[in-house]
Structures are given as C-alpha cells and as structure tokens.
C-alpha cells in the first residue's frame, strides 16, 4: 500500500510494515529535545516516576536558549536543573552557554538531527527539522520525560495535506513569505492535527534555510509536522555534518492525501502578518502606513546566516530611522562567527543596529527587546499573539528579514522595493 513520507518514517520506527492515518502507534524516537523552559518539568516528572537511567545518553539533547544566558535568578535556577541533570546522566548533547544557540538552528547545524529521523522536542517549533525530510513534532514535558525514559512515544498517524508551490519567486520573496501566505490562506487551524508536505518546483529551488523557516511555522497552522522531500540540496547540507547514517524517504506517487492545495508563487509578494495571529498575512504593498518602533531579526525561524545576509543586503549603506531600535540576533555561535567574518556586523553597526548574543530572548517576551504598552515591533519570529513580546498592549508584525530590515530604515512597515 502507498504511503506518504510522513507515514513511511513513522512506520520505519515501529515493527509495522505500513501505517495509515488515524492509527495509534508506539514508535522509537531517534532524538528527544528539551530546553530551559520545558526540560526542568520533564526532569521533575522523570525523577518522580522513579526514572534512574535515560534510555540513551547520545539521543537526548538539552539546550539552554530561551531565557539563557540566564536573564534572572529564576531562569538561572531552571538552567541549573538542566545542567545538573546533563552532568548526572552524562548527556552527550548538552550545550553550555558559548556553544548553545537557538535549538532549532543549532541541531541541524551540528548534524544531530538527520533525514529519516523521528524527533520529538518539548518545544512546538521542533517541526523545523521536517525541512531535512525527518518526522519531527512538538510535545509537552511529560511526553519528553516518557521519551527520555523509554525511547518510545505514542503517536496518532496524521493525515497529510500536500502543498504544491508553482512558478518562480519574485525578488525578495523568501520561505517566510511563502509560509505566511500559506497560513493566511488556510488559517491558524487549517492543518490541525495534520502533516503539511511542501512540494513543487518553487520548493526545489529553496535553500535549506528557507526550508527550515517554512517547516518551522507548520505548527502555526495547527500542523503536527511540516515535511519536505529530501533532494540534492538536503544532501549537500547534511553530508558534511552527519556523524551517523541517514535515510532519504519520499512519498509514493499514489499516496493518499487529505487534500492538495496549489499555490501560485508568482502572485506572492513579501508578506507581513498583522497582530495578533500569524494568519493575518497580507502583501507588503497592502500594509498601509504603520509606524514601527523596533525590528527583531533572528529566532529559530529566521536567525540563520542566509537571513542575516538578506538583512545586510537591504541595510548596506543605510541607517535605521531616527529613534528606531534594530536588534540582530544570530541564532547560533557559528552563525555569529560567520556573520562577523563576512563583514555583516559592520553593515549592521553602521546601520545603527545592536547585535545580541544567540538566544530566543524577545521572541517569547523573555528579554533583549521587550515592548512597552502601545509599542510595535516587526519581527522575523513566528508568533504575534497578544503579549508575546512584552506588554499585552504591544503589537508584533511578522515578516521575513528583507521586510524587517527595510522597515527599520523606513521607520514604518516597508519592503526593500519601497525604500
């Protein structure tokens, strides 16, 4: 019987020859991830349920990134719980400050998650790794505790929605614009409980960075996972990083889908999602005159070197508007170093930006760019819910790095072609 890539990966992690949507399965987990917000609860649950040993110290990943480097005493305590647990159980992939970065940029970069893997993470944006052709989904802390203890977890096999992107992208249109447009079209629950499979000729031309951005936001449409069929772009990315074997899966030509949605990429211009839902997306030319106070360029969605290059190409020779706060957050130490080597830091500093250490920071209202009541930020992050970046009376506008950089220069919502 024919299967989608999602169904194939799930079945290969069970003893079943095939699986179908709706089936409840127990599957083996290749990687289980936690961070400084979610791991402390998982560790507490692990201990309270009598856990003595983790199932495999090589397959658990712990990253202090949300409120780390520690933003306050309480955050320091949470990070310490994770650090102590990592030492006690000799967890291979624990990343201390200095090595740590935003988890969903860090794990692929380090070759920890690979094509064909089944990955669970106590973080909703774990779906990012679907860009590699892996099955990856967010879970809660108790699920993480169960995975750390047993190496297995139960799943309901999701139906798959197939998204086919036709045509050529316009200038400045990135993966972020494609996914914001897609969420705008189907809504924040348009893929609830389902897999989102991204295909089509416009997808094959995307860099890995753009694919990570798209898979990252599958959860913003309610999706269980986002997934790409791995190809030569994937191979070039993982070949130099992988320390173990990996496998490419693809969907059978006659696999069954919940639905197939065709998207004409040529009609899509750079997008901006207005408060307070990622689905409030519209083209930048329809944004109107919206004054903005701050721009955040970073996060697990858009904090990779390719994103910083785009931002720098817009900012080169320009300066942020008077009184505007431009904050650049390279997602990992490697991105940070690369941006420095390429001279991007000079471009950013000349533009009046401040460059932050790698952290999730302001994306979830932690620190490094919190908004006051009535303030507005454009951000390359993934959520613009009420209070997400600070005061409940502040506003977040989601966009790709080109719009976030152009907005900084204009002081109001703008794309690079409007400068």
């Amino acid at each position: 019987m024919s299967m989608t890539i999602t169904e194939k990966i799930l079945s290969r992690h069970t003893d079943l020859d095939e699986v179908h949507p709706g089936m409840l399965i127990n599957a083996r987990v290749d990687i289980a991830l936690g961070n400084d917000i979610t791991a402390p609860i998982a560790i507490d649950v692990f201990r309270k349920s009598g856990g003595k040993e983790v199932f495999d110290r090589e397959k658990i990943v712990l990253v202090p990134d949300h409120f780390a480097p520690n933003k306050d005493i309480e955050s320091a305590e949470q990070c310490k719980i994770m650090r102590d647990f990592a030492r006690e159980h000799e967890i291979t992939h624990y990343f201390e400050v200095g090595e740590a970065g935003v988890e969903h940029a860090l794990l692929p970069e380090k070759g920890i998650v690979l094509p064909g893997d089944l990955v669970v993470g106590a973080d909703s944006h774990t779906c990012t790794y679907g860009a590699l052709g892996a099955f990856a989904t967010g879970v809660g802390s108790t699920d993480l505790a169960a995975a750390m203890l047993t190496g297995e977890l139960w799943f309901k096999v999701p139906e798959t929605m197939k998204f086919v992107y036709h045509g050529k992208r316009r200038p400045w249109v990135s993966g972020k614009d494609l996914i914001l447009h897609t969420i705008g079209r189907i809504g924040v629950d348009g893929a609830l409980y389902r897999a989102m499979e991204f295909t089509g000729e416009a997808i094959r031309e995307l860099t890995m960075a753009d694919r990570f951005t798209m898979a990252n936001m599958a959860v913003e449409a309610g999706g269980k996972n986002g997934i790409f069929i791995p190809d030569e772009v994937t191979e070039a990315y993982v070949r130099e990083r992988a320390g173990r074997k990996y496998e490419f899966y693809s969907s059978d030509p006659d696999a069954l889908y919940h639905s197939v949605i065709d998207i004409d990429v040529e009609k899509i211009e750079p997008q901006v999602a207005f408060p307070h839902l990622p689905s409030n997306a519209r083209g930048i030319s329809e944004a109107g005159d919206v004054r903005i106070d701050q721009s955040i360029i970073g996060s697990c969605t858009n904090g990779r070197i390719e994103d910083l290059r785009v931002a720098a190409s817009v900012l080169k020779g320009r300066h942020a508007a008077h009184g505007f706060r431009l904050i650049i957050i390279p997602a990992t130490p490697a991105v940070y170093r690369q941006a420095m080597h390429e001279g991007l830091f000079d471009v950013f500093l000349d533009a009046g930006a401040v460059i932050s250490l790698p952290t999730c920071g302001p994306c979830l209202g932690g620190y490094m760019g919190i908004l006051a009541k009535g303030e507005r930020s454009v951000a390359t992050t993934n959520r613009n819910f009420v209070g997400r970046m600070g005061h409940p009376g502040s506003e977040v506008y989601l966009a790709g790095p080109a719009v976030a950089a152009a907005t900084a220069v204009a002081g109001r919502l703008a794309g690079p072609e409007q400068l």
């Binding site: 609860i41 349920s49 309480e74 973080d123 909703s124 879970v139 809660g140 629950d189 959520r383 819910f385």
Partner: protein, 165 residues
C-alpha cells in the same frame, strides 16, 4: 466522572501565551503560574473565577507553544475542566498526560454565556446546561487509548503499569 460548574466563555484560538504568558515561565511552580492564568485573554479572570468553574473555548483552544505550563496553570487555578469546539494538538495531548479533563463539543459554545452552569457526565458522554431548555449535548467520544491513559492516571503511570506487566 461527573462534575458541574459555572462557565467562563472565551473565543477562538485562545493561545498558550494567553493562558499563561511566556514572561512568567521562569518558574513552573503551579500556584505561581495559576496567579496569571488567562491573564492576556482577560486580566481580571483570576479575580472573577472560583475553584470548580469550567472554561469554554471556541476553535483551536490551546494553540501555540508546547508549554505544559498551560494545563498546569489551568489545573492549579482550580478550573475543573475545559470544553471547546476544537483543541490544538499539543495542548490536547498535554491535558491527557496531566489529567486535566477536556472535552470537544461544537454545540455548547453557542448555547451558553458567562455565569451559566453546566454539568459534564464524562462516562455518559453528555453535557447538560442547568436550567437550559436544550436536550443534553453529546461530547465527542474520547479514543479508547486516551481513556486508558486517564484511567491509569496519566502517561507516566500508564508506562509504569506497562512495565510492571
């Protein structure tokens, strides 16, 4: 399981940042989280609610982050359960893992306002509106595996039982 309570009604897409804003996630102490439960959806909620009350949501309740702090905050606030038209999947899964009773009903939302009283008969699969003229509403049945999780007292107890076999 049968319980009743006064309801508080919210709209569609109540996200986990509204249920427990991320700015409070530097702790997972249930009482500290409960103090801010639903704060960005209704800043006065914790002043108005009483233990035993029930939350009513529209579509996609609990969307957004994977934080288990959301069902923890709701439970610690004393909320007896949540009924919504639909739930976001991680929140749905977390609630079962934590033992927070949640139910899907597409009809209830349109039939009640804040302050109404309802009774939930989980075993019988119905919700009654106290003093309401309508017939009992049927709850979406919970898959047998999920019922097993609840009967075992959550995921970790379920795993412990499986290992003991």
């Amino acid at each position: 399981m049968k319980f009743g309570g006064r309801i508080w009604k919210f709209g569609d897409n109540i996200d986990t940042d509204a249920i427990i804003p991320a700015r409070y996630l530097n702790t997972w102490d249930p009482q500290a989280l409960a103090a801010h439960c639903m704060e960005d959806a209704d800043p006065l909620f914790m002043k108005k609610m009483r233990p035993g009350d029930i939350l009513i949501g529209g579509e996609n309740f609990g969307c957004g982050s994977s934080r288990e702090h959301a069902p923890i905050a709701i439970k610690a606030a004393g909320i007896a359960g949540v009924v919504a038209k639909s739930f976001a999947r991680i929140f749905y899964r977390n609630s079962f893992n934590m033992g927070l009773p949640i139910f899907e009903s597409r009809e209830l939302w349109g039939l009640v306002e804040d302050g109404a009283e309802i009774e939930i008969d989980a075993g019988g699969g119905v919700i009654r509106i106290i003093g309401g003229a309508t017939e009992p509403l049927h709850i979406q049945p919970v898959p047998p595996f999920m019922q097993e999780l609840i009967a075992d007292g959550g995921l970790m107890n379920h795993i412990a039982k499986g290992k003991a076999k």
